[in-house]
Structure formats: structure tokens, C-alpha cells
Symmetry: C2
């Protein structure tokens, strides 16, 4: 059986001006992962106030993933990796709290216990095929933090992606530098990846690394369903001695923006990059083509699954458009505020 | 779409000597609902130490329900209605804590907020067909408490069932009397059902009543998938003015032990009682025939669904036996301790 495990959480780093588009509006940012969880599980928000959309109306990648897992009947499990707002989706508790601002000391004090709890969950999943995904606004900045702390930030020109069309990489680097300094770490000085997550990371990295580690220990086939944040998870696991095969399944949108092959080579990953053939004639798809929300909530992994199972991408697109029209068509003004 | 919502929680009342068989061993009782949640979602325990079984080897009803929902591909959502031990199953958070011993004052201080949170979840479920179930060791005693506080305990000779072959009803009545006295309530004195749950009930009753109330408000078809605890939920909702149609779908095992029709008539419920045709030649089925674990985790509702969807009961039995042999066959000694 195949299961998509999505680690959903928050980091206060997301509210740094200019860091994240996930959720568009600062007030809604904290709701984004809770809403994504609901979209993955139920197909629409339940307790969360709105479907996350960018200011131009690009929907959350969770909606795309949902279209695929719903068609293929793939089990989805949400892990509460530090949600700041309540979610109506069932979520596995690994004892995570929302992450602090990475510019302050110790933003993920419980990184080790979250990793260990999630590792246990990963080890005990009854599935032989596990896709691990993430949703956390601001997560590429904390990923850059961890890569920098581990001395791996120079493996690619742009080691992390962005939910914005223009990746504010300089801003992220400044935020990370401030974070390292607050935690008394020099770049490359962290030898223990969990320590790096604790000092300059986020709880989703801890949980995702744990689930992947556990699933690898149980000899499952593990797919990192995502982009640079999941590549950072791989960096952590390689450093921790997890040498087994790992695939990174991501989107063409992400691959257009960062050097996926450089990351894959640095962390010994096989890669699957899928282009879903989105068009510019419908708001459900156009934003992705324009470089918004390139990856997240397992979108690339879902595309890879669809391909592998023979689900035509045209069916995914048509479900997505129909979903968009019915869920977002009427009240787009309201939710994009 | 159809969804089974199982409210899983604990009450300290379960550890009163002689009250509950759910989990067989006092140390395992607190794990039972967490394990049931995992069995429902994954088909086997993940974080919980063992499959709940009675001393004679009768498996938890959750295994039976799982066999049905797995075949019919019904979505299952677990609500954390006060779990005392961690579960690896994803669970919806409604802010519930484990219930206290009903013999003490105020065993469910958060009954009202749990009800309201669960009501919101029920209202927002995207399904038009919702089955609501429970798993809580000791739950029939707290159900008796609530019925007594509401003045409804005399609607049937045996208003509540038991997970034991011989229902220790006198013990339950003594425990309830002690609880009412600790909470300063006379039998029949509670007019507000949430107040009754708060004073002499358990958090699963609060959550289940909330989910049912919300789903009724959203005009869903709601099935009470269970026995006397779900009938108690109906008693609470009728008292609160929820007058819409409600069906109680339960097992023949339960109907053999209590007067389901008297409960149904008292609380204006339609009923479906299903006999799954279990045999005495296999430990997966024999215990149920002997009157153990008559209902729970939605077993009766699952049977009703199977019937309605044309799933032959023989297929359910054969899946259950196969599951039993593979999951419990080898280490029965260990888990029954």
C-alpha cells in the first residue's frame, strides 16, 4: 500500500516581511498548514478560514495533491508537526510545537523528541511505499538555515526555492545569518543534523526527517515528495548515516527555479521531475506556470504517483479546475483579501 | 460520501474493579482506544502496544469494523475525545482530556467546549452520510451515569450494555450513585445534557454528541453506529432539542443483551440490528457469539453499511479471520497476558 504522509507545521520565521507567499496575507499564514491538511483530507477547508491562495489566486499545491490522491485512492496521513491553528483534519501527534523565529536562539527546542516520535511513526507505518511531504510557510528559509549550519548551502547556486515568483534569497541569507549568530553557530559548524534543526530549522524538518528515517529503517520505499525542504531532510539523514536509496519527486515548476540535479547529486538522491502540463487559461493552473507555489504538500510526489499509476494528467487538471470553480470560484475576493 | 467518525477516549471510571473488559488487563485499558484508532486506520497497532483482546482472545470490535470499511473504502476519521495514551493514528483535536473517575466531582470539566468543538467538526464534514461511533473502556458506566442524571435510566430494564458476558449492572449503579452524590445531583435532576456529561459522563459522550449535533445541523444523514452509549448520545440530543431523524445501527450481540427497541422508542430512533453470522469455530468470531465485546468502534454501523452496499457478510468474516490469524495468531499469549 502507498501512503502520503504530510508533515504540517508553522515557524514564526514566516512572518518576517517578504519571506513567504504561502497564505498571501500575514493573518492567514498561520492557518495555511492547517487548511492544507483539511484540503488534503477532506478536499476543502473545514475549520480553517479559507483555502490558501496567493494574491493572484494561485491555489495551494495541497489542492493539486488532493486531486491526485483522491483519484488514486491513496491514503493520506497528516502529522501535526507544530500547527499553530486548529485543524479539522485528523493529525498524528508527535509532540511538536510551532517553531520560533529562526533569528532567535533555539527556535525548535523539541527537535530531538519530535524526530524520535516521528521516527517511531515512520517505522510502524503498515505501508511499503511511503511518500513524505511538507507544508510550512517560511519553510525554505529554515531549510536554508539547516543547510547552512551543516555546511551544505553551497551545493547549488539556489539551494532553496520560494513560494514567490522572485525568490528573496538575499533576505533569507540575512535571516539565516542572524539565526546562526543568535544560536552561536558558525556556518558549517553543526555536525549533528538534529542540532542544526533545533538551532536554525523548523519542526516540520524534524518530523519529516523522523518519518523518513523510520520508514527507511522499516525497509519501506521512501519518496521525498517535495523540493528543497525535502532535499534538506535528505541532507540531514545522509549526515546521520541513513545511506539507503531515496528518491526526490518534485515538480517542473521547482526544477525550473532551482538546480534539482545539484541537490540530488549532493545528497545521493534519484529524482523524478514531472511537468503536469498546466495551462495559462485557468486560474487553477496559471499561477503555477507563473512560478508561484512551485511545490508543497506533496505536489511533485503526487504527479510522480499519477504517472506511475497511469492516471492521465488531463484527468488531474480537469478535477483541479472543477474543484477550483466550485470551491474558489464564488468567493475569490474574500479569501485573497 | 460516507464517513465513519470514531470518538476515542478514556475515563478513569474504567479502572474500577469489574467495570470493563475492554483491553482485558488494567495496564492495557488506557491503551485500548488508542489501539482501536490504529486498527481502524491502519489495520493494526502502530504505537499502541497490542491489539485489544479479551482474556479469551475475542478481538476488539475495531478489527471487525476495519474489515468492513477497508472493503467498502469508507473514510474513517478518529476524533481524539480524551485519549490517555499516544496513538499513531491521525486524530482530530477537539480539546478533550481524559475523563476523571465518575465517582469524583466534575469528571469532564471541559464537556461543553469539547461538545462545541466537535459540533463544529460535525457541521463542517464534507460528507452527506456520517456514522458516529465510540471507543472508551468503562463507557457504559458513564452512559448509565448520564441517563440516570437525565432521569432516563428506567426506559429499559438494562439501559446499558457491557463488554463482559455478564453485565455488572449493580456495580455500575453503585458507581453512578456515588458519582451523582459527589457531584451533588439527584437522579433526574440534570436538565442540561452537557451538564449531565460534565458531572457523571465521559468526554467521548461530549464529543460524539457534538459530532452528531453538527452533522444534523448540516442536514447530513446521521447513523449512531453503536449500542447503549450511542443511545445515550441520542438521549442527550433529544433533550437538547435535536428532533431530526436518527438511526441506531447496532449488532445482534448487543440486541441479545439489552432491549434496543425500548431505547429506540424512548429516544425516537429508527434501528437496524445486524447479525453477521459469526461462527464458534474461530477465535476471531467465537468471543462475540459468547457475548463478549458486543459492540464498539462502530461495529454495528459497519455491518449495516455492508448490508446496504451489498458486501456479503461472508467476505467480512473471511477478512476478519485472515486478519486475526496474521496479526494475533502468532503472539496471542503475549497480548492477552
Amino acid at each position: 500500500m502507498t501512503r502520503l504522509v504530510c508533515c504540517a507545521g508553522c515557524t514564526r520565521t514566516a512572518v518576517v516581511d517578504g519571506i513567504s507567499a504561502a497564505g498571501a496575507d500575514a493573518d492567514l499564514l498561520a492557518h495555511t498548514p492547517s487548511a492544507d491538511a483539511e484540503v488534503l483530507v477532506y478536499g476543502r477547508p473545514v475549520r480553517a478560514p479559507a483555502v490558501p491562495v496567493s494574491p493572484t489566486g494561485c491555489p495551494t499545491p495541497a489542492a493539486v495533491t488532493r486531486a491526485v490522491v483522491d483519484r488514486l485512492d491513496v491514503d493520506v496521513t497528516v502529522v501535526d508537526a507544530g500547527l499553530a491553528e486548529p485543524t479539522g483534519a485528523p493529525a498524528v501527534d508527535v509532540g511538536a510545537s510551532p517553531g520560533g523565529d529562526v533569528r532567535q536562539r533555539d527556535p525548535v527546542p523539541d527537535a530531538r523528541s519530535v524526530f524520535e516520535d516521528a521516527r517511531r511513526v515512520g517505522r510502524e507505518l503498515p505501508d511499503d511505499d511511503v511518500l513524505v511531504a511538507e507544508t510550512i510557510p517560511g519553510g525554505t528559509t529554515t531549510a536554508l538555515g539547516v543547510l547552512t549550519a551543516l555546511g551544505e548551502a553551497d551545493v547549488a547556486d539556489r539551494p532553496v526555492s520560494s513560494s514567490l515568483p522572485d525568490n528573496p534569497l538575499d533576505l533569507k541569507r540575512r535571516v539565516v545569518a542572524e539565526g546562526l549568530s543568535a544560536s552561536g553557530l558558525a556556518p558549517g559548524e553543526a555536525s549533528d543534523p538534529i542540532e542544526a534543526i533545533r538551532r536554525v530549522g523548523d519542526p516540520v524538518l524534524a518530523a519529516a526527517a523522523g518519518v523518513v528515517a523510520g520508514a527507511m529503517e522499516a525497509d519501506g520505499v521512501v519518496t521525498l515528495a517535495g523540493g528543497t525542504q525535502l532535499a534538506t531532510v535528505a541532507a540531514c539523514l545522509r549526515r546521520a548515516g541513513y545511506d539507503g536509496p531515496l528518491e526526490l519527486a518534485t515538480t517542473s515548476f521547482l526544477a525550473d527555479a532551482v538546480d534539482v540535479e545539484a541537490l540530488a547529486s549532493a545528497f545521493s538522491l534519484s529524482t523524478t521531475v514531472t511537468d503536469p502540463g498546466f495551462g495559462s487559461d485557468h486560474p487553477a493552473e496559471a499561477g503555477f506556470l507563473a512560478g508561484e507555489a512551485k511545490e508543497g504538500a506533496g505536489m511533485g510526489g503526487a504527479f510522480a504517483l499519477a504517472d506511475r499509476r497511469g492516471l492521465p494528467m488531463g484527468a488531474v487538471r480537469s478535477d483541479l479546475r472543477e474543484w477550483y470553480d466550485s470551491v474558489l470560484g464564488a468567493d475569490r475576493e474574500v479569501v485573497t483579501s
